[in-house]
Symmetry: C5
Subunit: 297 residues, 5 copies
């Protein structure tokens, strides 16, 4: 394993000189690299698992499902750009830093739910996104402060930090029974995650509750056809940042997601969106090991 | 103490090599580090207190309460991002720089009130915030100039500087007696602090005083239910920066704070907010020692 | 060849000293360089082709035409600025990095369509643009992630990433037959490519379908005179980024393109463009070898 | 003197080690530093005056008062941020660079009026501001080009350059006599200076002259109560930058200045301000020596 | 010459030490430097001319006047900021790089018209501006790509690139004869140049041609009084960047230019400017040698 790793970085290193003297071995090396990039993934995976053995926290102590479903929970979305210097580090250093990162995350997963997303290649303003659920916002702050203080964190530039509070559905109680039932059906989650912050206009807030309830019923009816294939979660942001809502989506069918957003743009309530997106974050859900593997390359 | 400190930085240093040769001691070292991070906090605390003994100003000479309650006082909000190079300094250098910082702050606390906030992890555009109250704005300038000239200050990038003047309540005199009494009740302060600058539209300023007074009474009535759990302070900014007001909030109950902002968005006066936030600063109140400890890590 | 290359870089190197002692050879050297810059192009071309022999993927396995014409395909536009450090690299290093880049692109061309554009000199915010067509957006992400992880990619700063989904024409079915036929005629493509993202206003989306169809028919009629000389392609972006559409144009006659845009600004539908461009990307279509040659210089 | 200077930098240097061995001398050193920072100011002052003796221009040849009062003079406001590298220079180098700066400024003061302001600590987007009055804008350009070419100038990042032309009062001739007389009274100047650029809306410019005159009379009446304590100067910027006016204020009573701006926001003419500030520059008037002393620290 | 050059850089170098030992020679050296800065200008001029002899292109082959007067020509405005590292180069290196720049420009002047402007000191967002006229936009791209690939170009950061197409006057044919004649009179050019890009609103484009023609006649009538002292040139930008027009002005009388812009803001057509300037570029026309001299210092 370690040996193959050395071979790999070696083969990578003499790629450029390899261009100037005609190199018969290069063809073979190409094929070798292909196999190896798979081998490498395994190798890194093993290294970080090994790292975890050493770090050895018993993670997932917290009831993740409760945090993700209960009202009164703070959701924090922290997007970062990875500094250019990171790519210039020795891979061994990168792996060490990432193992330290894993330690920090596992430690905090004891009291909060932490989800990870790869934005690079899909979003232009950030590379990675953390979604943190905690009952106290200062716990999320402590996590992100320790994250930035970690060896890996020193290479992170903060792009955006958004916060929202989960609440009991505001208008649903007044909805007709069948609609309520439809909303109870489970939604499929998927590799794609999209975060769209929204700010309403002053007029929206000045409307009577029943007026808003009626518009939200129209909004919900328009969204229902996509309830099964697009998972949605709503966070109330007013006062915690410059938005009123953070809307979070997960799906395997991006075309359904797009149809959903188009449907939501056609209802009256949409006219009260002073700001919709700007920024929009789009990426893919990753496990910690998957994210580490990408960042280690 | 000093010894444990050396041990600590040592243990940190050989973390990465520790990954490649399977390391039996590492398990133990992990546990040791846990204890040590607590030890370290104490250690740093001691160092800076020691530093203070050496610096030895008699602080708090100024009547802080008067500055925080009187009209005619200038409040300055200065937000900074800590330069990436800071994290790459030797910890001993960081501690020395921070002790010098402590000296500067203590010196100025003789004539002004200085409050500190940690924004990192909650706000995306800045790491720390200073709130300065002084009777002359040029004193605040002198403090911030000396702050930036300090060894630590050379690592600070100015993100935002906002100013406002405290004034006698503008509309309250015309409010009904019970409302006036309610406003006299004390508010709880809390770990969370939020700063929201506001700019009104041209129409607002062209309204007759009684019209504005009526709207502000509606505004105040909407805010009263949260008077106990959310502390508010108002600064008049017009002309001193690009805002008309800087609203400052402190609370232990962020959900009450959010309900307060929602309530304030629903009154007529809210329609005259041309700009509300952008930026919004959210962070936690810190003592100088707490802030130094965070920055030293 | 290699020799002439050495001569070239040599002649370049002693240009500055050459200024201080009057240098009789310099005149000759100037003429020599002219010939050589042509020679150099050939030389680089050869090097990268050689590189490709070594890398040796069989490219174009994917049915490019289908990806470029079918509905349900995701088009990703990724614009990058080349880091200033790139220009400071040894040319040999640059060539090696670019050959690695060629390897990455050829590998992915097995399953997606990748087009390249040179923006430098025509657009101010980016140097190069990739247009990627794939049936799954996560494949495009994987390509762009590997691109950034490549030796060349470490010098790329992401400027913008826009996504859109191709769909069956929305309104055309209702158009009169002659118009439908005209739309079937082929369009000439050309060296110039322009990307203009568009965001519609809330009112547009709230209009009934037939109202929008009527406006789009007027829009199409205004565009038809330029159908032959300006190639257009439409991507539906809603929800995937902060735009509703990404409009892509290719032409050899920029004045016709300009007349087209002017015509489109004069129809009713144009009043519903909340954002048109900002940014607008304008550049020239390049083959991979042409782009590599430009970046190698 | 020189000796005390060496002592000073010495005492500064061993501040950090001084923290680790308990240091009895430190107490004394603290007090010493206090005296010395005063001593240092004197010392720097002497150095630069000495520098000036060596540079030795006879400054103030130009009739400064005429430039500041005549119509047809161009006022340029150039705001700069001092580069972070500046703070890392040896103090001796800083002093040398600043003396060179002083030379450049004194040289140009022969033909133009140059005023200096410290923005650091009060404005967030710039550290220093130059106000230049000249009869030809290309003279101001030559000064600022030479300023940037100076040893100190290489550390300046241009933040904003605004230009305006002074003109004979546009509407005053039509004002009632008493108002005209009041306007002739002198205004006190003060340590505070504020620069607020303004852009009017299209409607304002389309109004008939008498309509604008009437509004400007209301504007002037609202401003008169603050005429004595707040000095104002108006520059016509249209076409020279992205504003229509640059309004300049000087005062010792910031609360009067704020009342003035509030009063001006309440008149009809204020509704035609499409942009007011953004940026607003606030700082303190400094002599060249005072500014140099601040920058030398 | 060379000798005086060495003296010069020498005298510059020991400026700072010169401050610490009282230096009797310094007075003399000051005067010497004054003479020398003039000598230096000559010296650099000679060096670059010498450089040109060596480069030796026969420039101005292209019919510059035709390019500047014909319709169907593309005008490109490319604004750059010079990197801070440039100022830190040895002057000899700077001169060499600039001579190479001169070579590139002379080469391209064989097929396009290239004008140069110094923005530094007058505009805050860029230092230099190139105006390029070519019959094919891809030729302008090739020039700017080669410019950036030159030794000097590596120190240029692209700030803005705007394009416009010259066209036959759109509305003039319908103007009354006397107005047409007045428009035929020549305009004075001179040292000042201003570039103001404009974007019209959707309503403008939806107006009937005769409505726009009537407004443009009012616009032209308002501009005529300044026709003699302010030279104007119009470029049609729609689709080529985010503007509809790029308006270019040259004048020796900036006050006339300002009166012109004020006059143009007062006609109905001005209400259809959605964006006017932002950015506005203001600078002075420079010959290549003048620009090189400024950049060499």
């Amino acid at each position: 394993m370690l040996h193959s790793h050395i071979l790999f970085t070696a083969s990578r290193r003499d790629l450029s000189p390899g261009l100037f003297e005609a190199d018969p071995d290069n063809q073979r090396r190409q094929t070798r690299r292909k196999m190896m990039s798979r081998a490498r993934a395994l190798f890194i995976g093993l290294l970080v698992s090994l790292g975890m053995l050493l770090v050895g926290f018993d993670s997932w102590a917290v009831d993740r499902d409760k945090l993700l479903s209960d009202p009164g929970v703070y959701g924090t979305f922290a997007a970062y750009r990875v500094d250019a210097d990171w790519a210039r580090l020795e891979q061994s250093a990168r792996i060490a830093h990432l193992t330290a990162l894993k330690g920090v995350i596992e430690q905090y997963r004891e009291k909060m739910a932490i989800d990870l997303y790869l934005l690079r290649g899909l979003s232009d303003h950030a590379d990675i996104l953390f979604r943190v659920h905690a009952t106290e916002l200062k716990d999320s702050q402590q996590f992100l402060v320790d994250l930035q203080a970690s060896l890996f964190g020193k290479f992170l530039n903060t792009v955006a930090i958004l916060h929202g509070l989960t609440k009991k559905a505001n208008y649903v109680p007044g909805f007709p029974e069948p609609m309520k039932n439809d909303l109870k059906a489970p939604s499929e989650s998927g590799p794609y995650a999209i975060v769209i912050p929204i700010r309403k206009d002053a007029e929206w807030w000045s409307l009577a509750h029943d007026k808003r309830a009626a518009m939200m019923q129209e909004h919900t009816a328009a969204a229902l056809p996509y309830h099964k294939t697009v998972k949605r979660k709503l966070y109330h942001a007013t006062g915690l940042d410059d938005f009123d809502f953070i809307t979070y989506f997960e799906t395997a069918k991006l075309d359904d997601f797009q149809s959903l957003i188009l449907a939501l743009q056609q209802v009256k309530e949409a006219k009260h969106n002073r700001r919709f997106g700007n920024p929009t974050f789009i990426g893919t859900v990753k496990s910690l090991d998957q994210l580490i593997e990408t960042l280690a390359q």
